[in-house]
């Protein structure tokens, strides 16, 4: 089920109404990310004000999610003597069938888990959704004898939670950010149709066909809607009068097909489970009976054939959705803030949490979105920019600027804020934040040096790059000595004119967006947010997000980074020991039973989680913790610069057919980068640098070119942590090639490309029409060839569209949708990360021992010996990007 955006507060309001002192506490399962942490902060502050008990449980990956399900969700079920309850998954598990992962579907025991009463709220920014979560009506509905009537739940219409919905029966409810409602209609129809349809395969037809071969298909192929209706009416019409053996067959198949590998092996691959969801959810379609004698249909066989065709089509629709690749949608902290504001309970603290969460998402390389233009050629704001504008309005609403400040600020407009207005001032302000790293806590020089934006564009890894930075500073009139001072203590006059100076000189160095300009609706496009804690400190949201994620990635102990190379082993080892038992074959059960963490080891997940969680608290204690961890963030930034520079300077980034690849094997920082989050940051740095290099050479590469796979050796465990960053990186977007002419050429080329793309699209359309024609013809002939031809068609589509410089891999397979659909899909698939899928299939092909546990599917761990084979398989796959 999904909760539409318009009814966001419905479930929460009901929870508040029904909770009493003896109800079981709300279970909050939070993934380890700054965004999820901020969302949890908002939610818990709401809960605390409503006197609702809750329990936060950090989960770092699927195995922990499963364990949390065993430990917390199961005891709530009515079957185990609980009275139902609510489990909130924040940033965790939107991609998998949560009832299975949490063990609520009763797959393990023989207990009938119907009506278990545990509601699972899923708030996740990762896409694609598991459609079983979204549209399935949950295990609360069981394969009852009374047919499809029970399938319809009270107050749920096509998976949508209606205002009349009464919670309490349990099930998975996905909180929609508006995307399901607006974009997933095709998928919804397909899913619903599949659910109503009986399980049927080609074999059924072959078996059947031996008996009767003389049918003629005389019905016109109709639209999917009417077909669906027909299918459902047919189902309800005849109550399985004669199809006893037919009924047997699908049932058996259901049992012999252990649908998803997740419950059996938590360390296994969730992606496969996800890809199989349509079929795995199929067993739940209860009394679906294949009819052999419909009232007015000409023959059973032709109907069945049609049914199969329909089924394949719907499955293809779902498959296409899943193969779009993983991407990120609206940040969860912004979702939670919408909830608070819908309840009319928002305040500055919540707003700040939301801002920090969204800033952290903007920092992460997974959330890059395309800049679209509408028909008039004006740039349409993408989702994160829209959210940013809304937040700016919220900041203005909740933090009115005093009058004298407005008058005064005319003179120092555009200076970044470094101090509060008064000792009790905790307001949030807008500030033209430059893209420097931790500028308030570092010197100007260091902060420029370690900013990923600046360092990649100035080629800091070489001596020439450093010189360029010095030259930029010199042009701006800042002496190196001055720049080496802490920013807070720099010359006042210099600080006040810094922005103008940067605005003046940055374009000469390809640094166009270094400081936000005065464009946009209110001249505040790209402005950052700053909050003060009285005289104690004034921090920007980006810095807070950076520090909090550094806590999660480097460690909770702020004193470690000082003694870099030796001491920082400690937290990593504890992390290592937590996941020491790497499963030997993929999909193995070993590590569910095996002791995951040796006794005596500190709980890696929860120590870091709570350190970061406390640091994000809006009180002054939280601030102290945050400030204590600034060295961690600086340490991480230094390591990224060091390692990234080494990788690029030594030319260790190899260019394979469809992506680039780098391996971090030695150096002082491998220990640090064995944490996936840190490695993702490094990969983002490297991919940005590569994109800049490419763009400066004038090669406007295809999106696939920006794909990067980065592996880092974790010596202690003998595994490589592998991260894949897909296309859609913003890197080369604003980089101008050195010569103006070349740029113009590029533009021309682009225009030509666009023309080619349009031509290709037209071709696709034409071919689609042809394909439809052919299909119609084929429907009259052999059906077995249908799937094959469909497949080959999709391949040809893929090659065609890749020539037109777009990544329509996902769109190729569903050739039946019309052109608008194709376009929509293309734009949808943009920027999504296909490495999750690619890793998945490579594992299946090569049998490499790989552990996929992270919620981020493009982060895996590969056994040391298997890395070669793994990468080889990956490069051969070639469909990445």
């Amino acid at each position: 089920m999904y909760l539409p955006r318009g009814q966001l507060s419905q479930l929460y309001a009901h929870l508040v109404k029904t909770t009493h002192a003896l109800s079981p506490p709300l279970i909050i399962l939070t993934s380890l990310g700054v965004d999820a942490l901020c969302a949890t902060r908002i939610l818990t502050s709401l809960l605390r004000r409503d006197y609702i008990q809750y329990h936060i449980e950090p989960v770092a990956g699927y195995s922990e999610l499963q364990r949390a399900g065993q430990k917390f969700a199961l005891p709530l079920t009515r079957q185990r003597g609980g009275e139902g309850g609510v489990v909130v998954c924040i940033g965790a598990g939107g991609l998998v069938d949560l009832e299975e992962v949490l063990g609520l579907d009763g797959a393990e025991g023989e207990v009938d888990m119907s009506d278990h009463g545990v509601e699972v709220w899923v708030i996740d920014a990762r896409r694609p959704w598991n459609l079983g979560n979204v549209f399935g009506s949950s295990a609360a509905v069981q394969q009852g004898e009374d047919g499809p009537a029970v399938l319809r739940r009270q107050g749920v219409e096509q998976g949508r939670v209606m205002p009349s919905y009464r919670p309490g029966k349990g099930g998975v409810i996905v909180w929609d950010d508006g995307e399901i409602e607006s974009e997933l209609t095709a998928e919804r129809d397909a899913f619903m149709a599949l659910q109503d349809m009986p399980e049927i395969t080609e074999e059924d037809l072959i078996v059947e066909g031996e008996n009767s071969e003389d049918e003629v298909d005389d019905e016109e192929p109709s639209s999917s809607q009417s077909r669906k209706r027909k299918a459902s009416t047919r189902d309800s019409d005849d109550e399985g009068s004669d199809g006893s053996d037919d009924e047997e067959r699908p049932r058996r198949r259901r049992r012999s097909n252990p649908s998803t590998p997740i419950p059996s092996s938590p360390g296994g691959n969730p992606q496969s489970g996800q890809a199989e969801t349509p079929s795995s959810s199929q067993p739940r379609s209860p009394g679906a009976v294949i009819s052999s004698s419909p009232p007015r249909a000409p023959s059973a066989r032709s109907l069945r054939r049609k049914l199969l065709k329909l089924r394949r089509k719907h499955e293809a629709t779902l498959e296409a959705y899943y193969t779009l690749g993983t991407s990120n949608s609206e940040p969860i902290s912004s979702m939670m803030y919408s909830l608070a504001s819908e309840l009319g309970r928002e305040d500055n603290d919540m707003l700040w949490s939301a801002i920090v969460g969204i800033s952290s998402v903007d920092l992460s390389p997974f959330a890059r979105t395309k800049r679209r233009r509408n028909e008039a050629g004006k740039r349409v704001l993408d989702k994160s920019e829209q959210i940013r504008e809304v937040l700016q309005d919220e900041v203005r609403r909740l933090n009115p600027v005093p009058e004298d400040e407005i008058r005064r600020s005319q003179s120092q407009y555009g200076v970044i804020q470094t101090k509060a207005r008064s000792p009790t001032d905790t307001s949030i302000r807008l500030s033209p934040e430059p893209r420097f790293l931790l500028i308030r806590h570092w010197s100007l020089y260091d902060s420029m040096l370690h900013s990923p934006y600046l360092s990649t564009r100035l080629h800091i890894w070489s001596d020439a790059g450093r010189k360029r930075l010095h030259k930029l500073l010199a042009k701006m009139g800042v002496s190196l000595q001055e720049a080496g001072k802490g920013y807070i203590h720099m010359d006042m006059a210099l600080k006040q004119s810094l922005r103008e100076r940067i605005l003046k000189f940055a374009p000469q160095y390809n640094l166009d967006h270094l400081v936000p300009g005065e464009n946009g609706r209110r001249g505040l496009e790209g402005w950052g947010f700053v909050r003060s804690w009285g005289w104690k400190a004034t921090l920007s949201a980006v810095d807070v997000a950076t520090i909090a994620s550094a806590i999660l990635e480097v460690g909770a102990d702020p004193h470690l980074p000082q003694a870099t190379n030796t001491a920082s082993h400690v937290p990593q080892q504890s992390y290592a020991s937590r996941v020491r038992s790497l499963p030997t074959p993929p999909h193995s059960d070993t590590d569910t039973a095996g002791p995951a963490a040796a006794p005596g080891d500190p709980d890696w997940t929860s120590t870091r989680f709570y350190a970061a969680f406390d640091a994000l608290s809006p009180t002054s204690e939280g601030l102290d913790k945050l400030l204590k961890h600034i060295p961690s963030a600086q340490h991480l930034a230094r390591s990224i610069l060091r390692t990234g520079s080494a990788l690029i300077a030594k030319k260790q980034i190899r260019h394979l057919r469809s992506f680039r690849m780098g391996v971090v094997k030695d150096g002082p920082d491998t220990v640090l980068f064995s944490h996936p989050g840190a490695l993702v940051k490094l990969a983002a740095w490297v991919s940005e640098a590569v994109a800049v290099l490419e763009a400066e050479k004038g090669r406007k590469g295809r999106e696939g070119d920006e794909a990067l796979v980065l592996a880092c050796l974790d010596e202690a465990r003998g595994v490589y942590v592998v991260v894949g960053l897909g296309g859609g990186a913003q890197g080369g977007k604003s980089v101008r090639s050195k010569a103006e002419i070349r740029a113009r050429e590029d533009k021309k080329k682009k225009r030509a490309e666009a023309k080619a793309a349009a031509r290709a699209a037209r071709a696709i359309k034409r071919r689609d029409r042809k394909a439809r024609q052919r299909e119609r013809e084929e429907a009259l002939g052999l059906i077995d060839s249908d799937a094959e031809s469909n497949h080959s068609q999709s391949e040809s589509d893929a090659t065609q569209s890749s020539a037109s410089s777009s990544d329509s891999d996902g769109s190729g397979s569903d050739s039946e949708v019309n052109e608008a659909e194709v376009q929509r899909r293309k734009s949808r698939g943009y920027g999504s990360n296909k490495f999750g899928l690619a890793f998945q299939s490579v594992v299946e092909e090569t049998g490499a021992r790989v552990r996929i546990d992270s919620f981020e599917h493009s982060v895996v761990e590969v056994r040391r010996e298997d890395l070669g084979g793994f990468l080889e398989g990956l490069s051969l796959r070639g469909v990445v990007g």
Partner: protein, 253 residues
């Protein structure tokens, strides 16, 4: 009672008493009328300002279900005029006047028994509406200091300029305390001190000291008084004995 507290009310207790005062809230959520000991509250209907007891208002504020509107006298302009009055040389001897008493609703009738409900008129600590938005501007009510500090502590974001108000409240408090302290001098002579318009917390604050002083003075005075009275008695009874005693002493020496 073994409570180690000085007689009178502690500041916390005064604050507690203050919490029964009505303040104006702007609700963010609906709330039905509540049956409280002091009578039913008005139902809350956002966004209409409603009077509620301070304790309830603070609770709702803490839960972000309502905003508290500061009373009319707790504004910058009002506090500034009061402070000007307090610091003016011409009015150096008196406190700023308390809010005006409402028009008497009853006619004093000597036939009615003492304190019958028909004759009771409300006066300072029990005045209605002294802390809501309809309060009189420019006059400090009885609970001014308590209310201001409670509101500034937990609803500072509802003030347009909380810091300036905090400063003004602090100034006012110091001016008035110094006035009070200046008045202590007259206590020595056993004279009274006119403290019209003084607030509850100020009373609680000086009660210990003034009480102590008056008590000590009384004790001293009693000793002297007793001596005087004794002397008077003795002097009244035997006029010449004292002289004789004196002479005896002299003689003894």
């Amino acid at each position: 009672m073994a409570l180690p507290l000085p007689p009178g009310l502690t500041p916390a207790e005064t604050g507690f008493l203050c919490e029964t005062e009505l303040v104006t809230v702007i609700p963010r959520q609906r709330l039905e009328s509540l049956e409280l000991l002091g009578g039913p509250t008005q139902p809350l209907n956002p966004p209409f300002p409603t009077p509620l007891p301070l304790w309830l208002a603070l609770l709702l504020k803490k839960q972000r279900r309502a905003n508290i509107q500061p009373p009319a006298w707790l504004t910058l302009s009002s506090l500034r005029t009061i402070l000007d009055f307090e610091t003016d040389d011409r009015t150096a001897a008196v406190f700023s006047p308390p809010p005006a008493l409402p028009q008497p609703t009853t006619i004093p009738d000597p036939d009615l028994p003492y304190l019958s409900p028909g004759t009771v008129e409300l006066s300072t600590p029990f005045l209605k509406d002294t802390h809501t938005t309809s309060a009189q501007e420019g006059a400090l009510p009885y609970h001014w200091l308590e209310l201001a500090s409670l509101l500034l502590a937990s609803a500072a974001d509802d003030f347009p300029d909380a810091d300036a108000i905090r400063i003004l409240i602090r100034d006012l408090r110091e001016v008035r305390m110094s006035k009070l302290r200046k008045g202590f001098k007259v206590l020595e002579g056993g004279a009274g001190l006119k403290i019209n318009g003084v607030g509850g917390l100020e009373v609680a604050e000086v009660r210990g000291f003034v009480g102590g002083v008056v008590d000590g003075l009384r004790r001293l005075g009693r000793a002297r008084e007793e001596m005087r009275r004794e002397r008077e008695e003795e002097g009244g009874d035997t006029g010449g004995v004292a002289d004789e005693d004196g002479s005896e002493d002299e003689m003894g020496l």
